[in-house]
Amino acid sequence: MDNNIISIEGLKKHFPMGSGKFTALNGINLSFGKGEFAGIIGPSGSGKTTLLNIIGSLDVPSEGKAVILGQSVGNLSPAASASLRKSQLGFIFQTYNLFQVYTVYENVEFPLLLQGIEASKRRQMVLDALEWVGLTDKIKSRPAQLSGGESQRVAIARAMVKRPAIVLADEPTANLDAANSHHILQTMENLNRELHTTFIFATHDDKVIGYVRRKIYLSDGKVAKDEIIEKN
């Protein structure tokens, strides 16, 4: 770890529920450094997706502070929040969330279009990203023509194409079989090592847990255990 790029202090998140409220996160203190490959682990309802959403500036803390790349998520304007996601954050979802009407190429190109990167540079970056995930032969395919593993690899390419500082992956293997799960996890691990991108997974999948180098166990909205695994 070179330095902290994510710093979370006393983070709480409440959701209204009936006449009361439900506390999804209850005083989280965490920090992540550049190049981490970490998993937020816990059963359903433990608050891992909520934590990931706040780190991704898709949601804001009810109490406490979450500082991402020097920017406090709770204090960001909608435009600044969007700008942070656009330039520094990549998302990988359980259900891939690819744009069905776009080709593989267009899906991967999308984040670069938002950044206004010029066409020739954009093309090279898209082809590089598709090469990382081994899908250069599928650039004209549409998501409906891809397998689950291929779709998730496109999603990884889309998340990585802009070379973000942080990639947030919410249950990325939940819809995949074992072979595909290992394939995409290896892909992400390689990218993490090559590009020093920070990967944070929200998961309860043992396959993912086996790959991560830091395991943060959440239980009832609190960090139950935070362990770093030494790997060669």
């Binding site: 744009f99 984040p111 950044q115």
Partner: protein, 390 residues
């Protein structure tokens, strides 16, 4: 520019779904333009027919003549003014003598207006050349509507009764020499046309007339105070009022059709926003602001109308041009409603109508697309990503 590029990419990428919407919207374009063009063509035709059959370039009216008060007809006549006699001689002015009368077809009594007109006239389109009959007979021509209401047909004889200048009733037999077809009710319904000289003799009014129809605009020609010049604009003012009243109905029909097509766009947008929740959440996760997503969806909706205009132009322009040239055949039964309508209407598609319709549909489509898209601005992206919003 980015929003436009993405909107176009989304639309074209959606393939058949987009083209179905576009084709339906293009039908709306064409139907709206066609209906409005038909109504405008009808208006123009009604006005032109009035000019060709009755009004010509203008008329002189005897000062007592009131077309809406038949009881004044017996007094509203006078000698043709001296200043116009040369024009009468060269038939650029057509004197018409008008009086009240009654006919008795099949024993029934039928009140009508008798009009005397020179058979040789060419100023109006009445087939006055047919006002010829055998020795001692008085020829008469009537319109199709009059023939239908009286049961008269070409070759029939019918008794005509009238009052002469002294108020004395007289009667004679006339022979229907022609039944003509016109869309101008005032030349047809309740009218019988006789040769001018015959009517003058019958009424004991030699050289007199009630109105003078002019082939030229004579608004600058001053005559005796007994005759008042009515220019074409004045004579068409009634039909202009009818057209204006009908135009408001046309606007309502146009509005209803526009509303129906916009409902389809609105429905598509609402469905699209509901169905594309995950996509909306993904846009936001990838760095778009909610405002940008609203603009993207609004633009997508608006682009439907642009594509619809282009698609509509491909099949609509030749179709409408063909109809404009060949006209639209109206069922014969439409004349039964008493509407001044030709058997064939020629729609008029002005540039203003087409560009105006396209512009209005574009603006309304944009508004209708924006309306449901505002919902995006209130969406919670984390809920949208999971497709949980109801």
């Amino acid at each position: 520019m980015l929003a436009f590029k993405l909107a176009l990419r989304n639309l074209l990428g959606a393939g058949l779904r987009t083209w179905l919407n576009v084709i339906v919207l293009s039908f709306s374009f064409i139907i709206i333009i066609w209906t409005k063009g038909l109504l405008e063509g009808w208006d123009r035709q009604a006005k032109n027919d009035m000019i060709r059959w009755e009004v010509a370039e203008g008329q002189y009216w005897h000062k007592d003549y009131d077309p809406y008060d038949p009881f004044t007809l017996s007094d509203s006549h006078g000698p043709v003014p001296q200043e116009l006699s040369s024009r009468v001689s060269d038939t650029s002015i057509i004197p018409v003598l008008i009086t009240q009368g009654t006919i008795y077809p099949q024993g029934r009594m039928h009140s009508l207006i008798i009009k005397g007109i020179a058979p040789e006239q060419k100023v109006v389109e009445l087939p006055t050349a047919k006002l010829t009959a055998g020795e001692g007979e008085i020829p008469a021509i009537i319109g199709k509507a009059m023939a239908a209401s009286t049961g008269l047909k070409e070759g029939d004889y019918v008794t005509l009764r009238w009052r002469d200048r002294n108020g004395t009733f007289d009667a004679t037999e006339i022979r229907i020499t022609s039944v003509f077809e016109t869309t101008v009710p005032t030349a047809d319904v309740g009218q019988v046309w006789l040769p001018l000289e015959d009517l003058r003799k019958m009424m004991l009014l030699p050289g007199e007339a009630t109105i003078l129809i002019t082939a030229d605009n004579l608004s600058d020609v001053r005559v005796t105070e007994e005759w008042i010049y009515k220019d074409q604009e004045t004579l068409l003012s009634d039909i202009e009022k009818i057209i204006q009243a009908k135009s408001s109905v046309g606007v309502i029909i146009w509005g209803i059709m526009l509303l129906m097509s916009m409902l389809a766009v609105f429905d598509t947008q609402v469905l699209s926003i509901f169905r594309r929740q995950k996509e909306i959440g993904t846009y936001i996760a990838l760095g778009m602001t909610r405002g940008q997503v609203v603009r993207l969806f609004t633009l997508e909706g608006a682009l439907h109308s642009v594509l619809a205009a282009l698609v509509g132009a491909v099949y609509g322009v030749p179709l409408l041009m063909l109809q404009s040239a060949r006209g639209v055949k109206i069922p014969l039964s439409s004349s039964d409603f008493g509407i001044a309508m030709a058997e064939r209407l020629y729609p008029v598609y002005s540039l203003a109508l087409i560009t105006g319709t396209v512009a209005i549909v574009f603006v309304v489509t944009t508004i209708v697309s924006y309306w449901p898209s505002r919902k995006i601005a209130k969406m919670n992206p984390t809920e949208a990503l999971r497709g949980r919003i109801q």
